[in-house]
Subunit: 207 residues, 2 copies
């Protein structure tokens, strides 16, 4: 039990310690840093989060974070709107966009099926994905979820929901990361990389 010299400091520490992975010692360090800033800066700091929560929108098509009703990716007519990459959250969109290898659009689920955390299919944006497929303009779905039990469960659930539409559903390739040494790779990954081997002429193919 730590005794704070001030109730205000204690409240600020508790607020920051509510962030994932931040303990009270680190939070106190942040608070002391904020106290060294001038009042105007700290007001701006605090208001940033209030504005974020109140004004942020989610794209009505793909549920990606956006400042407008439709996100910049869905609004881009140069992208392939028939190729949908299904991801867990906005960080995955940013990571894939960074590769500059994907020319389609996204569908952000907003999480993955996790019975342990009480998250079922109805808590995720799966119905709207089915609706997008139903519209008939989709020619391929790429599943890009984590290779965890939850990710696999979600993959399987979505695959079953989409089966009747007869459009190809793929998952991103799993295998040995570039730069990794074989001897240190886990056997499941190594096994998958052998089963899903790629013709040599396609190995270095990057758009």
């Amino acid at each position: 039990m730590i005794n704070y010299p001030s109730k205000l400091v204690e409240e600020a520490v508790e607020a920051l310690a509510s962030l994932p992975g931040v303990g009270r010692k680190t939070a106190l360090r942040y608070v002391l840093h904020l106290l060294r800033q001038d009042t105007e800066n700290v007001r701006k700091f605090g208001n940033t989060f209030i504005r974020l929560r109140e004004e942020l929108k989610y794209c009505r098509t793909c549920h990606n974070i956006s400042d407008t009703e439709q996100c910049s990716i869905c609004a881009n007519s140069k992208r392939d709107h028939g190729l949908i990459c299904v991801v867990e959250d906005v960080r995955d969109v940013m990571a894939i966009e960074n590769t500059q290898q994907f020319t389609g659009v996204y569908h952000v689920l907003g999480g993955i099926i996790s019975p342990m955390d009480g998250i079922g299919p109805n808590d995720l944006h799966i119905d709207s994905l089915v609706e997008r497929v139903q519209s008939g303009e989709v020619h391929e779905i790429v599943m890009a979820l984590s290779t965890t039990m939850e990710g696999d469960t979600t993959n399987f659930y979505i695959y079953r929901r989409l089966k009747d539409f007869n459009i190809p559903v793929s998952t991103i390739a799993r295998g040995i990361a570039i730069g990794d040494e074989l001897e240190y790779a886990d056997e499941v990954t190594l096994g998958r990389s052998i089963v899903n081997r790629v013709p040599y002429e396609r190995t270095f193919q990057v758009k």
Copy 2:
């Protein structure tokens, strides 16, 4: 260069990434966490920092963080107001208070002399410490600063400022930490622990 899907998210990430030791990836994780909270909670989160910066006071005697004009330690008549422990910031006060071994009061410098960072004696609460000593009610000063070059410089500067008042100035003991093994101790610490050895009957003395 990361492209954020929203200006609001980018601003919130930049705000959190301004905290010491927080990178943009971690900040984004915090932002996504905040987006999952309800609006009222996030408003409270943001306002906590604004209130902190606007309402927090510093004790007029010892400069410790406080909700009132005088901090709870300086206001406590049971403490020895003639025994002053000089520390760098509020974290040190909290750490020493936690030991429950110190019955005096504090003087928070608000930093240490560090020419590299442009912090000189005039940027710290040293004059007010001299004034407290001048008042004639102080019978001992305990210096509890870090054993860095900056800490030693500050120790020396304050020692010289207080020399003419003829009151004892001590520093907290440096030595082998409890539970540490001798063979792994650095030689400076080990050397100091030999020079500043303590009579056996005082070794386990804890108030």
